[in-house]
């Protein structure tokens, strides 16, 4: 077989896996110039334009944890690409060619294994999925309920994030929302699974979840995480899952507008908002989180230099949350430093992954005595 034929086949495989847009790339480099990896204190070898170049020509040599699996799928590049290429989709396609043949980073293999066996990426017992409910009354989902509340795996299992799940429940209850949860039958939404490139595993999860929701009569879903939100809303329809999906901030914002959610208690302090990419840039839900926080009496909301479409990712997306990033290359460190410079007391966000990443940085930079990371739901709950 000639070498040239192999090159063609590689490109073909990327296209076949859903990366057809790679052919539109004109190699202008706007993407690489926008990518946070190039803006870190310690430079990374990862260059998205170069990876597209190699992919288009069918070259290899970028198959590694720190190159092919570096992209956090934050979408920063894509909103600026002059050709309008959905860059994270191409990255996913390139990963899936490799992943299909077992070329998955070691840490991510364990994540996939855990999701297959336990239904969650954290290697925790399937049966413990509802452990977060301790101390709050959470109704079970029945067809007479208007919404299904889907608690992200992270908020279901991580002690820190469980508080977020409980806050969301309390807020929904305070606003008189009719909702319930399914619990142990649920499985991970599969967002990261797909970003890893494990298409088969993702398909299985999506089909399982869609089947489960349909069986239970679910029509509307509220999510605690923007990642689940994005997947339910944008990816499940491919598999026949048509649901009305809300990130909890969107629903609460509506409820507040209708006077059903009342924020009255003052919560003082300077709060800086870290925009989760999957809520902001990917879903364009820029206003709801800001409206909610601005309605909290005495809360002083400030912004990062880059916000909305230009917000810097925390580096937890695209399955990077389970991979090691060297100090000096962590986006979340940059965020915490900026927040500290702006003398914020609270970094607010609305994504369980962001919380994990930001809190890690907070501790590593020894800023945890001057600042805290909070989910918006936690701030709102204090204000009830």
């Amino acid at each position: 077989m000639s070498e040239l034929m192999v090159f063609d086949e590689v490109r073909e495989a990327i296209v076949m896996s859903g990366g057809e847009e790679i052919q539109k790339c004109m190699q202008c480099g706007v993407c690489a110039g926008s990518c946070p990896w190039g803006r870190m204190e310690e430079k990374s070898e990862f260059n998205i334009r170069a990876m597209f170049h190699m992919g288009r020509l069918g070259y290899d040599g970028y198959e590694s944890d720190d190159y092919l699996f570096a992209c956090t799928t934050c979408n920063q590049c894509a909103v600026r690409c002059p050709r309008g290429i959905k860059i994270p989709d191409v990255v996913r396609a390139m990963r899936s060619v490799i992943a299909e043949t077992g070329g998955i980073p070691k840490n991510l293999k364990a994540v996939l294994g855990s999701i297959n066996s336990q239904g969650n990426p954290w290697s925790q017992e399937r049966g413990e999925r509802t452990a977060w409910m301790k101390g709050v009354e959470v109704p079970e989902y029945t067809p007479d309920k208007e919404y299904l509340l889907f608690v992200c795996c992270t908020s279901a299992y991580d002690g820190r994030s469980q508080k977020v799940a409980r806050s969301v429940v309390e807020l929904l209850q305070a606003a008189g929302v009719s909702f319930g949860i399914i619990g142990v039958e649920e499985q991970c939404c599969g967002e990261s699974v797909r970003k890893i490139g494990a298409e088969e595993d993702f398909t299985r999860l999506a089909e399982y979840n869609i089947g489960l929701y349909n069986k239970k009569g679910v029509k509307k879903i509220i999510t605690t995480s923007p990642h689940c939100y994005y997947t339910f809303k944008n990816e499940y329809p491919e598999f026949g899952g048509e649901f009305e999906v809300y990130h909890y901030t969107q629903l609460l914002d509506e409820l507040m507008a209708h006077g059903k959610l009342k924020l009255s208690k003052p919560v003082g302090g300077k709060v800086i908002y870290h925009e989760p990419c999957y809520l902001g840039r990917h879903s364009k839900a820029f206003d709801a989180p800001r409206n909610l926080m601005s309605s909290v009496p005495e809360l002083q909301l400030v912004e990062f230099e880059g916000n909305k479409d230009n917000s810097l990712c925390c580096s937890g997306g695209g399955a990077r949350i389970w991979m090691e990033t060297r100090a000096g290359q962590r986006f979340s460190d940059v965020k915490i430093k900026e927040a500290a410079e702006k003398e914020a007391q609270v970094v607010a966000t609305a994504c369980p992954y962001c919380i994990v990443m930001l809190e890690d940085s907070l501790k590593n930079l020894n800023k945890d005595d001057v600042m805290t990371v909070k989910d918006i739901s936690e701030i709102l709950r204090e204000s009830l």
Partner: protein, 326 residues
């Protein structure tokens, strides 16, 4: 007819390893139940004087192969001698320690004798007149009980420290039989032996891990964990926070973004229990947490927790362990 329960008496630097006594104690019970003799097989150079000890721990007979070629363990030399001896005497069973050498030797001998071998066993019992072995599979997530119904000898390697060694009976003597068998052709040529100063095992291979987090307050304080680890033969690990602080290198990091481990015992000191850390170690069989914050997440997965100052507790625990393991 097959006769006799054999124990391969592992020695290093002219000292019998403790696991040998554990095997002798278990072998003694099996031999008594079957009405057979218990034999130890002692191999090495200048090891003859160790035979007495084996008698005190229950051996009726000790085969001693004391030749120059057995000074250092090589697969071929040890396999040749043990397999020849077994062919000659046809024992019912041969028990070995599940050490690097024990595993190596057991596989070769079992194949040469055309028999079955159960490795890494954690229990031996007599059931319906046959020896039944329990062994962990899937890293201890399940167990299997297995036997070797027909082929003889039944062979097994037993994990050290899981079976109890009975007290020796001073003065109890074993018959010593000198083995003249030659070591044969040795194809593995030892070029060099590198003794490790620290015998701390690799993290992912360790049975016991002593791990420290941000609560250790500084790299210098890891010394107390290392001391405890050395008493236990454990590896030292760290949480991401401790690694990020630069106190230990990334190769020590336990957790999803570092190494996933599932030791028999995991001792977490000053680790709060971030989800990535828990995901990397919560399949450990037994988890101990020492932390001054009673609310720390690590206590949710711990089998035993001590709420308190690790700087006080860890050194005390080390002393207690020393006493226990003496």
């Amino acid at each position: 007819m097959a006769k006799g329960i054999w124990v391969f008496a592992e020695q290093r630097d002219e000292e019998i390893k403790k696991v040998t006594y554990e095997l002798l104690s278990a072998g003694r019970k099996a031999a008594d139940a079957l009405g057979e003799e218990l034999c130890a097989v002692l191999m090495g150079r200048g090891v003859g004087s160790l035979a007495g000890k084996l008698g005190e721990y229950g051996a009726d007979k000790v085969y001693v192969a004391d030749v120059d070629a057995l000074e250092n363990y090589t697969t071929d030399a040890y396999t040749n001698v043990l397999a020849d001896l077994a062919k000659e005497h046809q024992p019912t069973a041969i028990l070995l320690a599940c050490s690097v050498a024990g595993r190596d030797l057991a596989a070769q001998v079992a194949q040469r004798l055309g028999t079955g071998l159960m490795t890494d066993c954690t229990d031996i019992a007599m059931e319906d007149g046959q020896l039944v072995f329990t062994r962990p599979i899937y890293a201890g997530k399940a167990f299997v009980k297995a036997a070797c119904p027909q082929a003889r000898p039944v062979m097994a390697t037993i994990r050290p420290n899981v079976l109890a060694a009975d007290a020796p009976q001073a003065g109890r003597a074993a018959e010593t039989v000198t083995v003249s068998a030659g070591a044969g052709d040795i194809r593995q040529v030892i070029k060099e032996i590198i003794k490790q100063i620290s015998t701390r095992p690799e993290l992912t291979e360790a049975d016991i891990i002593v791990s420290g987090g941000r609560g250790m307050k500084g790299p210098e304080n890891f010394a107390i964990l290392e001391e405890l680890a050395d008493v236990l033969g454990a590896a030292v690990g760290a949480s991401r926070a401790a690694v990020d602080a630069g106190w230990l290198s990334h190769s020590f990091q336990v957790g999803q973004t570092g190494k996933t481990v599932s030791p028999v015992l995991y001792i977490a000191c000053g680790i709060s229990g971030a989800i990535q850390h828990l995901a990397g170690m919560s399949s450990s069989k037994c988890i101990v947490a020492i932390n001054k914050d009673p609310e720390a997440n690590i206590f949710k997965v711990a089998d035993y927790g001590i709420v308190g100052d690790l700087f006080e507790i860890v050194p005390l625990l080390k002393e207690e362990m020393k006493k226990l393991l003496a």
